[in-house]
Symmetry: C2
Subunit: 379 residues, 2 copies
C-alpha cells in the first residue's frame, strides 16, 4: 500500500509528525511547571487536587477551543489526561505536615498493598511511621505504646482480632483508626478496645492507583472527632475526597458496591468457563462495551481470591442480598419463559423511572468512557 | 483560599495557561492537516483507519517522550484522543466510491437509527441511496426491482418477514444483505427468498458512535461472495474492521455478548430498584470501577426496551443460556451458605486458568480504562 500512496500524503504526514513533536516539547514544559506548583503547594499545605482551579481553567480552554472551531471536549479530555499525570508527579514532591508534633504513627499491616501506600504518604508528609507486621507482636509495646496514631490495615477477617490485640497497648491520647471495607463492626470493636479517639476509614481504591488525587476515602466517626480533624485534612491535602457516612449506611452501600458486584462477576467468570467460548473469537467480535465488560471480569481473576472471598463472606447481610438478587433473576426468567415482552418492557420502564435523570446522564457519561476505551484498545 | 495563595503559585498558573493556549494552537494546526489527509485519502480510496501508520507514529512519539523523561503512555493517550477526533472529521470529507456502476441502493428500514448511519456513509461515498420505510410498501416495485443492493435494517423480530416480503421484487443480480444481530436464521431466509448474491452483516455498534473508525462489522457469507467483495472493501474504507464468521458461531457468541449481558444488566437494574439505595450516596461512595458499572447499567435504561426485549427473546438458545447462568449462580450461592472459602478459592483459580494470560492483560487494560474513567467523571 505504502508504495501506491501519493507523495502528497507522506508530505502531510511529515507535517503532522512535526506538530506532534512540538506538542511533546510543550508537554515537557507543562510538566516542569506543574512540578514547581507541586513544590509551592507542598510548602504551603495546599491540596494537590484543586477542583475550582480545574473547572475555571477547563472552562477558559473550552471557550477558546470553540472560538477556533475545535471541539471543546477534545481539549478538555487532553487536559484532564495531562492533569492526571501531573497529580502523579506532584505527589512525589512531598506534602505539608499538618500535625508536626504528633508522636510516631504505627500501621498494623503496613507491609500490605494498601498499608504501603499510606506509609509512603505519611512519610512524604514528614511523619515518623512504623510498621507492625504479622511477626512483630513481640515488639508490640515498643511499637504501640507511644504512638500518636495507630491504623489497623489488615485483611477483613482478622481486623477485629487485631484491634482487640492492639487495644491494651495504646495510650489514651492515641487515635485508633482502621481501613477495613466494612465499618460497623470494626468501629464498635475499636470503641470497646480503646478509650481514646476512634475513627473508621475506608479508602475506596485498590493498590494500583497512580496517586490519591480524586480518590474517595469514606469515614465514620467513632469518638472525639475534634482530635482527628487534622488527619482528615491531611488526606484532603493528598488530593483525595473524604466522604462522611454513618457506619451502618456505609455497610449497606458496600453490600451493593462490593459484595454483590464481586460475587456476580465471580459467577459470570465461572459460567463463562462452562460455556467455554473461544476467547479470541469473542474478543474479535466484541464491541467496546462488551470488551470493557470482559476486561472488568478478567481483571477480578488476576487478583487475590482470598481478598474477594473475605469481602463477600464478611457479613450474613451480603449473602442475604445476593440471595435477593438471585430471586430477582429467577423472577425475570419467568418473563422469558412466557415470552412476556409487555411485562419485560413494563419492568424496564420502572427501572428507568427509578434512575430518573441519571439514566440519560449515565448514557452520556458512558458514551465518553466507551469512546476512550475504544481509543486505547489495541489488539 | 485564593487570597492566601502566594503570588508564586498564580504566576506559575499563568505560565501553565500560556502553554495550554499554545497547545490549542497546535491542535488547530493538526486538525487542519488531518482534514487535508482526509481529502487525499478520499480521492485515492485509502481507508481512514491506517493501523500500521498509527503504530509506527505512536512508537516514534513514545521513544521521543522517553528521551525527554516524559511518560510514553501520556503522549500515546493524547495522540489517540486526537486521532479519534480526526476520524470524526476525516469522515465528513467523503469516501472513494468502489463500485460507481452500481444501480441504486435501497435500505429497508433506512429511517432507523442504524440504517441512517449507513444511508449517510453510502451517500458520502457517492452512491445513490433510497429508503423503504414502513409505509412505503406500495412503492416496493419502484424501490426494489432495479436495486443493485438491498439491505434489510429492521427490528430483529420482523427481519425474516421483511426479507420474505422483499424477495420477489429483487432482480437476480441484486445483492441482498441484512444488519440483524443474529445471523443464522436471516441468512437462511435470504437464501430462500432470493436466488442472487446474499450477505449477512452485523454492525457491532450502536447509533451513538462518532465515526466507523475501529468499529467492528461481522459478516457471514451467504452466496456468490465474489459479487459483494467491493462492499466489504467499501466498509473497510470507512474505517471499520470486518470480521468473517460462520453464522452459527456468530449466534453462539452473540448469546454471550448480547443476550446474556443485556439480561443480567436488566436484572441488576430491577434488583437495584428493589434494594432502593440512595443513588446520590451510592455515587459519592463509588470507586471508579463501580461508578463505571453503574453507568453501564444506567445507560441500558436510557434506551429502547423493545430493542432489548427483541434481542434477548430472539432465540430459545438465549433463554437456555440464561438459565444455565442462573443455575451457576445458584451453585455458587451454596459456597456462601456453607462458608466454603476453600471451594470459592478453588473455583476462582479455575477461572483464572481459563482466562490464561488474558487475566493479567485485562488487569492492565482495565487499569488504563479506569484511570481514564476517573479523569472524566465530574459530579
Amino acid at each position: 500500500m505504502a508504495a501506491q500512496l501519493p507523495q502528497q500524503l507522506s508530505h502531510l504526514r511529515d507535517q503532522i509528525d512535526a506538530v506532534d513533536q512540538q506538542m511533546l516539547a510543550l508537554l515537557e514544559q507543562r510538566l516542569n511547571l506543574v512540578a514547581q506548583v507541586g513544590e509551592v503547594k507542598s510548602e504551603y499545605g495546599v491540596p494537590i487536587y484543586a477542583p475550582e482551579r480545574e473547572s475555571a481553567m477547563l472552562a477558559s480552554r473550552r471557550q477558546e477551543a470553540e472560538k477556533k472551531g475545535i471541539s471543546p471536549d477534545l481539549i478538555e479530555d487532553i487536559l484532564r489526561r495531562i492533569m492526571r499525570e501531573s497529580y502523579t508527579s506532584e505527589k512525589d514532591s512531598g506534602f505539608k505536615c499538618l500535625n508536626p508534633d504528633l508522636p510516631p504513627i504505627t500501621i498494623i499491616g503496613g507491609n500490605g498493598q494498601l498499608g504501603r501506600i499510606f506509609v509512603r504518604m505519611f512519610q512524604l508528609s514528614g511523619y515518623q511511621v512504623r510498621i507492625l507486621g504479622r511477626n512483630d507482636w513481640d515488639r508490640a509495646t515498643e511499637l504501640l505504646s507511644d504512638a500518636g496514631l495507630v491504623i489497623v490495615s489488615v485483611p477483613i477477617n482478622v481486623t477485629q482480632s487485631m484491634i482487640e490485640k492492639a487495644g491494651p497497648y495504646l495510650n489514651p491520647d492515641c487515635i485508633l483508626a482502621d481501613f477495613t471495607s466494612i465499618k460497623e463492626a470494626p468501629v464498635q470493636t475499636m470503641l470497646q478496645a480503646h478509650s481514646g479517639p476512634v475513627l473508621g476509614l475506608h479508602p475506596m481504591f485498590g493498590p494500583d492507583i497512580s496517586s490519591l488525587a480524586k480518590q474517595v476515602v469514606a469515614y465514620s466517626d467513632g469518638r472525639m472527632p475534634e482530635k482527628y480533624q487534622w488527619l482528615l485534612e491531611q488526606i484532603l491535602i493528598w488530593g483525595a475526597k473524604i466522604v462522611p457516612i454513618d457506619a451502618k449506611e456505609h455497610d449497606r452501600n458496600m453490600m451493593l458496591i462490593q459484595a454483590m458486584r464481586h460475587f456476580s462477576t465471580f459467577v459470570y467468570g465461572v459460567n463463562l468457563t462452562k460455556e467455554n467460548p473461544q476467547l479470541d473469537q469473542l474478543m474479535a467480535l466484541s464491541s467496546p462495551i462488551y470488551r470493557l465488560e470482559l476486561a472488568m471480569v478478567g481483571r477480578l481473576f488476576a487478583q487475590d481470591p482470598v481478598l474477594y472471598a473475605d469481602i463477600i463472606m464478611s457479613s450474613p447481610n451480603n449473602i442475604a442480598a445476593i440471595k435477593r438478587f438471585y430471586h430477582s433473576f429467577g423472577e425475570a426468567i419467568k418473563l422469558l419463559d412466557t415470552q412476556d415482552k409487555a411485562g419485560f418492557i413494563q419492568e424496564f420502564k420502572q427501572v428507568e423511572q427509578w434512575f430518573g435523570d441519571y439514566a440519560q446522564h449515565f448514557l452520556q457519561e458512558s458514551k465518553n468512557m466507551l469512546q476512550q476505551a475504544q481509543d486505547t484498545v489495541h489488539k
